[in-house]
Symmetry: C2
Subunit: 177 residues, 2 copies
Protein backbone atom coordinates (compact mmCIF):
# COMPACT_ATOMS: atom_id res chain seq x y z
CA UNK A 1 0.00 0.00 0.00
CA UNK A 2 1.25 3.43 -0.97
CA UNK A 3 0.11 6.56 0.81
CA UNK A 4 -2.51 8.46 -1.20
CA UNK A 5 -3.35 12.17 -1.06
CA UNK A 6 -5.98 12.48 1.69
CA UNK A 7 -7.64 15.44 -0.05
CA UNK A 8 -8.44 13.13 -2.98
CA UNK A 9 -9.72 10.21 -0.90
CA UNK A 10 -13.34 11.36 -1.44
CA UNK A 11 -12.97 10.20 -5.06
CA UNK A 12 -12.70 6.63 -3.77
CA UNK A 13 -16.06 6.79 -1.99
CA UNK A 14 -18.16 9.17 -4.10
CA UNK A 15 -19.25 6.54 -6.66
CA UNK A 16 -20.96 4.60 -3.84
CA UNK A 17 -19.09 1.27 -3.82
CA UNK A 18 -19.69 -1.41 -1.21
CA UNK A 19 -16.99 -0.96 1.46
CA UNK A 20 -15.47 -2.90 4.33
CA UNK A 21 -15.10 -1.30 7.76
CA UNK A 22 -12.58 -2.73 10.22
CA UNK A 23 -12.38 -2.21 13.97
CA UNK A 24 -10.23 -3.41 16.86
CA UNK A 25 -11.69 -3.98 20.29
CA UNK A 26 -10.47 -5.82 23.38
CA UNK A 27 -7.59 -7.51 21.55
CA UNK A 28 -9.74 -8.66 18.64
CA UNK A 29 -10.11 -7.34 15.13
CA UNK A 30 -13.38 -7.39 13.24
CA UNK A 31 -14.74 -6.27 9.87
CA UNK A 32 -18.20 -5.48 8.53
CA UNK A 33 -19.65 -4.71 5.10
CA UNK A 34 -21.31 -1.33 4.53
CA UNK A 35 -23.19 -0.07 1.52
CA UNK A 36 -25.00 2.87 3.09
CA UNK A 37 -22.40 5.62 3.30
CA UNK A 38 -21.82 9.10 1.93
CA UNK A 39 -19.37 11.96 1.93
CA UNK A 40 -20.11 15.00 4.06
CA UNK A 41 -17.10 17.04 2.96
CA UNK A 42 -13.89 16.80 0.98
CA UNK A 43 -11.42 16.47 3.86
CA UNK A 44 -13.04 13.75 3.87
CA UNK A 45 -15.79 13.49 6.47
CA UNK A 46 -17.79 10.32 5.87
CA UNK A 47 -21.18 9.17 7.21
CA UNK A 48 -21.96 5.44 7.56
CA UNK A 49 -25.23 3.83 8.54
CA UNK A 50 -24.18 1.77 11.57
CA UNK A 51 -26.25 1.29 14.71
CA UNK A 52 -26.15 -0.48 18.06
CA UNK A 53 -27.62 -3.57 16.33
CA UNK A 54 -24.23 -3.96 14.54
CA UNK A 55 -21.56 -5.90 16.43
CA UNK A 56 -18.92 -3.35 15.31
CA UNK A 57 -20.84 -0.53 16.97
CA UNK A 58 -19.38 -1.07 20.44
CA UNK A 59 -15.82 -1.06 19.06
CA UNK A 60 -16.55 2.23 17.27
CA UNK A 61 -18.06 3.80 20.39
CA UNK A 62 -15.26 2.64 22.71
CA UNK A 63 -12.16 3.01 20.55
CA UNK A 64 -13.36 5.71 18.15
CA UNK A 65 -11.38 4.49 15.17
CA UNK A 66 -11.71 2.25 12.11
CA UNK A 67 -10.37 1.59 8.64
CA UNK A 68 -12.53 1.83 5.52
CA UNK A 69 -11.35 -0.50 2.76
CA UNK A 70 -12.58 -0.52 -0.83
CA UNK A 71 -12.70 -4.00 -2.33
CA UNK A 72 -12.53 -4.70 -6.07
CA UNK A 73 -14.68 -7.35 -7.72
CA UNK A 74 -12.13 -10.09 -6.96
CA UNK A 75 -13.30 -9.75 -3.33
CA UNK A 76 -17.00 -9.43 -4.16
CA UNK A 77 -18.22 -12.80 -2.89
CA UNK A 78 -16.02 -12.55 0.22
CA UNK A 79 -17.33 -9.04 0.93
CA UNK A 80 -20.94 -10.23 0.78
CA UNK A 81 -20.14 -13.19 3.02
CA UNK A 82 -18.45 -10.85 5.52
CA UNK A 83 -21.70 -8.88 5.58
CA UNK A 84 -23.74 -11.99 6.24
CA UNK A 85 -22.17 -13.17 9.46
CA UNK A 86 -21.34 -11.49 12.76
CA UNK A 87 -17.99 -10.91 14.46
CA UNK A 88 -19.75 -12.14 17.57
CA UNK A 89 -19.65 -15.68 16.12
CA UNK A 90 -16.79 -15.60 13.62
CA UNK A 91 -13.18 -14.40 13.46
CA UNK A 92 -13.73 -12.90 10.03
CA UNK A 93 -10.10 -12.01 9.27
CA UNK A 94 -9.15 -15.63 9.78
CA UNK A 95 -12.17 -17.28 8.12
CA UNK A 96 -11.99 -15.03 5.05
CA UNK A 97 -8.18 -15.02 4.91
CA UNK A 98 -7.80 -11.28 4.63
CA UNK A 99 -4.23 -9.97 4.39
CA UNK A 100 -3.56 -6.98 6.58
CA UNK A 101 -0.86 -4.45 7.21
CA UNK A 102 -0.36 -1.67 9.70
CA UNK A 103 -1.54 1.83 9.01
CA UNK A 104 -0.11 5.01 10.44
CA UNK A 105 -2.66 6.28 12.95
CA UNK A 106 -5.19 3.66 14.04
CA UNK A 107 -5.08 0.20 15.57
CA UNK A 108 -7.45 -1.49 13.05
CA UNK A 109 -5.35 -2.57 10.07
CA UNK A 110 -5.42 -1.91 6.35
CA UNK A 111 -6.68 -4.75 4.15
CA UNK A 112 -3.87 -5.29 1.65
CA UNK A 113 -6.03 -7.02 -0.98
CA UNK A 114 -8.29 -3.98 -1.38
CA UNK A 115 -7.92 -1.14 -3.88
CA UNK A 116 -7.59 1.46 -1.15
CA UNK A 117 -7.86 2.01 2.59
CA UNK A 118 -8.75 5.07 4.64
CA UNK A 119 -7.77 5.28 8.31
CA UNK A 120 -10.57 7.02 10.17
CA UNK A 121 -11.41 8.56 13.51
CA UNK A 122 -15.02 8.46 14.78
CA UNK A 123 -16.21 12.05 15.30
CA UNK A 124 -19.94 11.48 15.84
CA UNK A 125 -22.13 8.56 16.92
CA UNK A 126 -25.85 8.10 16.20
CA UNK A 127 -26.09 11.37 14.31
CA UNK A 128 -29.56 12.89 14.78
CA UNK A 129 -30.82 9.58 16.14
CA UNK A 130 -30.55 8.02 12.65
CA UNK A 131 -28.07 5.23 13.52
CA UNK A 132 -25.40 7.03 11.60
CA UNK A 133 -21.75 7.40 12.55
CA UNK A 134 -19.49 10.13 11.26
CA UNK A 135 -15.84 9.47 10.42
CA UNK A 136 -12.94 11.78 9.71
CA UNK A 137 -10.30 10.44 7.31
CA UNK A 138 -6.78 10.61 8.80
CA UNK A 139 -4.74 8.96 6.03
CA UNK A 140 -5.45 7.18 2.76
CA UNK A 141 -3.56 4.31 1.16
CA UNK A 142 -3.76 2.91 -2.34
CA UNK A 143 -2.70 -0.46 -3.73
CA UNK A 144 -0.78 0.39 -6.92
CA UNK A 145 -1.51 -3.08 -8.33
CA UNK A 146 -5.26 -2.57 -7.98
CA UNK A 147 -5.61 1.01 -9.25
CA UNK A 148 -8.38 1.13 -11.84
CA UNK A 149 -9.95 -2.15 -10.70
CA UNK A 150 -13.72 -2.29 -10.85
CA UNK A 151 -15.76 -1.82 -7.66
CA UNK A 152 -19.32 -3.02 -7.07
CA UNK A 153 -22.51 -1.45 -5.76
CA UNK A 154 -25.31 -3.07 -3.74
CA UNK A 155 -28.75 -2.92 -5.31
CA UNK A 156 -30.38 -3.93 -2.03
CA UNK A 157 -32.06 -7.06 -3.40
CA UNK A 158 -29.05 -9.39 -3.25
CA UNK A 159 -27.78 -8.32 -6.66
CA UNK A 160 -24.74 -6.15 -7.24
CA UNK A 161 -23.86 -3.86 -10.11
CA UNK A 162 -20.24 -3.81 -11.28
CA UNK A 163 -18.56 -0.69 -12.63
CA UNK A 164 -18.86 -0.38 -16.37
CA UNK A 165 -17.28 2.24 -18.62
CA UNK A 166 -15.98 5.54 -17.31
CA UNK A 167 -17.03 8.65 -19.23
CA UNK A 168 -15.01 11.84 -19.07
CA UNK A 169 -17.26 14.89 -18.76
CA UNK A 170 -14.68 17.29 -17.34
CA UNK A 171 -15.52 19.77 -20.11
CA UNK A 172 -19.01 20.14 -18.57
CA UNK A 173 -17.67 20.72 -15.04
CA UNK A 174 -17.47 24.45 -15.46
CA UNK A 175 -18.53 25.37 -11.94
CA UNK A 176 -16.79 22.80 -9.76
CA UNK A 177 -13.41 21.92 -11.26
CA UNK B 1 -44.98 7.04 -14.36
CA UNK B 2 -46.43 4.13 -12.46
CA UNK B 3 -46.58 4.09 -8.68
CA UNK B 4 -43.84 1.91 -7.17
CA UNK B 5 -43.83 0.15 -3.80
CA UNK B 6 -42.38 2.72 -1.35
CA UNK B 7 -40.81 0.01 0.80
CA UNK B 8 -38.66 -0.97 -2.18
CA UNK B 9 -37.65 2.56 -3.15
CA UNK B 10 -34.35 2.18 -1.23
CA UNK B 11 -33.22 -0.19 -4.00
CA UNK B 12 -33.25 2.76 -6.40
CA UNK B 13 -30.79 4.75 -4.29
CA UNK B 14 -28.57 2.14 -2.62
CA UNK B 15 -26.20 1.70 -5.60
CA UNK B 16 -25.23 5.38 -5.27
CA UNK B 17 -26.32 6.88 -8.61
CA UNK B 18 -26.16 10.58 -9.36
CA UNK B 19 -29.64 12.00 -8.66
CA UNK B 20 -31.66 15.12 -9.41
CA UNK B 21 -33.47 16.96 -6.62
CA UNK B 22 -36.36 19.27 -7.49
CA UNK B 23 -37.93 21.99 -5.39
CA UNK B 24 -40.66 24.60 -5.75
CA UNK B 25 -40.38 27.99 -4.10
CA UNK B 26 -42.22 31.28 -4.58
CA UNK B 27 -43.92 30.14 -7.78
CA UNK B 28 -40.72 28.83 -9.35
CA UNK B 29 -39.44 25.32 -9.79
CA UNK B 30 -35.78 24.43 -9.62
CA UNK B 31 -33.59 21.33 -9.81
CA UNK B 32 -30.09 20.47 -8.63
CA UNK B 33 -27.73 17.53 -9.11
CA UNK B 34 -26.65 15.53 -6.05
CA UNK B 35 -24.12 12.73 -5.81
CA UNK B 36 -23.54 12.75 -2.04
CA UNK B 37 -26.56 10.92 -0.60
CA UNK B 38 -27.27 7.77 1.41
CA UNK B 39 -30.07 5.74 2.88
CA UNK B 40 -30.67 5.95 6.63
CA UNK B 41 -33.44 3.35 6.75
CA UNK B 42 -35.69 1.28 4.52
CA UNK B 43 -38.88 3.37 4.77
CA UNK B 44 -36.90 5.15 3.11
CA UNK B 45 -35.20 7.92 5.05
CA UNK B 46 -32.55 9.56 2.87
CA UNK B 47 -29.67 11.91 3.71
CA UNK B 48 -28.37 14.39 1.11
CA UNK B 49 -25.39 16.69 1.39
CA UNK B 50 -27.00 20.09 0.75
CA UNK B 51 -26.08 23.30 2.54
CA UNK B 52 -26.97 26.97 2.63
CA UNK B 53 -24.45 27.54 -0.18
CA UNK B 54 -26.88 25.66 -2.49
CA UNK B 55 -29.61 27.76 -4.11
CA UNK B 56 -32.15 24.95 -3.47
CA UNK B 57 -31.48 25.12 0.27
CA UNK B 58 -33.92 27.97 0.95
CA UNK B 59 -36.71 26.14 -0.88
CA UNK B 60 -36.06 23.03 1.20
CA UNK B 61 -36.03 25.01 4.46
CA UNK B 62 -39.16 27.00 3.64
CA UNK B 63 -41.37 24.45 1.89
CA UNK B 64 -39.95 21.25 3.36
CA UNK B 65 -40.52 19.11 0.28
CA UNK B 66 -38.75 17.92 -2.85
CA UNK B 67 -38.67 15.19 -5.49
CA UNK B 68 -35.67 12.95 -6.02
CA UNK B 69 -35.36 11.74 -9.62
CA UNK B 70 -33.00 9.06 -10.88
CA UNK B 71 -31.72 9.77 -14.38
CA UNK B 72 -30.46 7.08 -16.75
CA UNK B 73 -27.42 7.59 -18.95
CA UNK B 74 -29.51 9.22 -21.71
CA UNK B 75 -29.74 12.20 -19.32
CA UNK B 76 -26.11 12.07 -18.19
CA UNK B 77 -24.78 15.18 -19.91
CA UNK B 78 -27.92 17.16 -19.03
CA UNK B 79 -27.62 16.07 -15.38
CA UNK B 80 -24.02 17.27 -15.19
CA UNK B 81 -24.96 20.57 -16.83
CA UNK B 82 -27.82 21.01 -14.33
CA UNK B 83 -25.22 20.59 -11.59
CA UNK B 84 -22.98 23.21 -13.10
CA UNK B 85 -25.31 26.18 -13.10
CA UNK B 86 -27.52 27.79 -10.46
CA UNK B 87 -31.28 28.22 -10.33
CA UNK B 88 -30.51 31.77 -9.29
CA UNK B 89 -29.44 32.51 -12.87
CA UNK B 90 -31.22 29.91 -14.97
CA UNK B 91 -34.72 28.42 -15.30
CA UNK B 92 -33.31 24.90 -15.48
CA UNK B 93 -36.56 23.11 -16.35
CA UNK B 94 -36.94 25.34 -19.39
CA UNK B 95 -33.28 25.47 -20.50
CA UNK B 96 -32.81 21.70 -20.16
CA UNK B 97 -36.28 20.85 -21.52
CA UNK B 98 -37.24 18.49 -18.71
CA UNK B 99 -40.69 16.90 -19.00
CA UNK B 100 -42.61 16.91 -15.76
CA UNK B 101 -45.80 15.53 -14.32
CA UNK B 102 -47.64 15.94 -11.06
CA UNK B 103 -46.98 13.69 -8.11
CA UNK B 104 -49.39 12.86 -5.34
CA UNK B 105 -48.13 14.67 -2.26
CA UNK B 106 -45.69 17.48 -3.03
CA UNK B 107 -45.63 20.58 -5.18
CA UNK B 108 -42.28 19.92 -6.91
CA UNK B 109 -42.99 17.69 -9.91
CA UNK B 110 -41.78 14.30 -11.09
CA UNK B 111 -39.33 14.31 -14.01
CA UNK B 112 -40.96 12.03 -16.57
CA UNK B 113 -37.75 11.26 -18.49
CA UNK B 114 -36.10 9.69 -15.43
CA UNK B 115 -36.14 6.02 -14.41
CA UNK B 116 -37.86 6.77 -11.12
CA UNK B 117 -38.99 9.56 -8.83
CA UNK B 118 -39.45 9.72 -5.07
CA UNK B 119 -41.65 12.41 -3.51
CA UNK B 120 -40.04 13.51 -0.26
CA UNK B 121 -40.69 15.53 2.84
CA UNK B 122 -37.80 17.30 4.59
CA UNK B 123 -37.55 15.98 8.16
CA UNK B 124 -34.19 17.45 9.23
CA UNK B 125 -31.99 20.34 8.11
CA UNK B 126 -28.23 20.71 8.66
CA UNK B 127 -27.99 17.41 10.52
CA UNK B 128 -25.25 17.62 13.15
CA UNK B 129 -23.92 20.77 11.53
CA UNK B 130 -22.68 18.75 8.53
CA UNK B 131 -24.73 20.53 5.83
CA UNK B 132 -26.87 17.47 5.46
CA UNK B 133 -30.62 17.36 4.97
CA UNK B 134 -32.78 14.36 5.82
CA UNK B 135 -35.74 13.35 3.65
CA UNK B 136 -38.59 10.96 4.21
CA UNK B 137 -39.96 9.25 1.10
CA UNK B 138 -43.73 9.70 0.71
CA UNK B 139 -44.37 7.96 -2.61
CA UNK B 140 -42.26 6.41 -5.36
CA UNK B 141 -42.87 6.32 -9.10
CA UNK B 142 -41.24 4.28 -11.82
CA UNK B 143 -41.11 4.78 -15.56
CA UNK B 144 -41.95 1.35 -17.04
CA UNK B 145 -40.13 2.24 -20.27
CA UNK B 146 -36.90 2.95 -18.41
CA UNK B 147 -36.81 0.05 -15.96
CA UNK B 148 -33.39 -1.62 -16.11
CA UNK B 149 -31.74 1.41 -17.73
CA UNK B 150 -28.18 2.08 -16.62
CA UNK B 151 -27.49 4.81 -14.06
CA UNK B 152 -24.20 6.63 -13.53
CA UNK B 153 -21.99 7.44 -10.57
CA UNK B 154 -19.80 10.50 -9.98
CA UNK B 155 -16.12 9.80 -9.42
CA UNK B 156 -15.56 13.32 -8.13
CA UNK B 157 -12.96 14.25 -10.75
CA UNK B 158 -15.32 15.08 -13.61
CA UNK B 159 -15.52 11.48 -14.78
CA UNK B 160 -18.55 9.23 -14.31
CA UNK B 161 -18.79 5.47 -14.12
CA UNK B 162 -21.73 3.82 -15.86
CA UNK B 163 -23.41 0.68 -14.51
CA UNK B 164 -21.91 -2.49 -15.92
CA UNK B 165 -23.09 -6.06 -15.38
CA UNK B 166 -25.37 -7.03 -12.53
CA UNK B 167 -24.33 -10.11 -10.53
CA UNK B 168 -26.87 -12.12 -8.56
CA UNK B 169 -25.48 -13.11 -5.15
CA UNK B 170 -28.81 -13.76 -3.42
CA UNK B 171 -27.54 -17.20 -2.41
CA UNK B 172 -24.93 -15.49 -0.19
CA UNK B 173 -27.48 -13.18 1.46
CA UNK B 174 -28.23 -15.62 4.26
CA UNK B 175 -28.64 -13.04 7.00
CA UNK B 176 -30.47 -10.18 5.36
CA UNK B 177 -32.89 -11.54 2.77
Amino acid sequence: MKEFELSKAFELLEPGPVILLSTFYKGRKNVMTVSWHMLLDFTPIIACSIGSYDYSYKALVENRECVISIPAIDLMEKTIQIGNCSGQDVDKFSVFELSTQKGKYVKPQLISDCIANIECQVVDIDLGGYNCIVLKGLAAWINPEKVGSKTFHAKGDGTFVIDGDTIDLKHLMTKWM
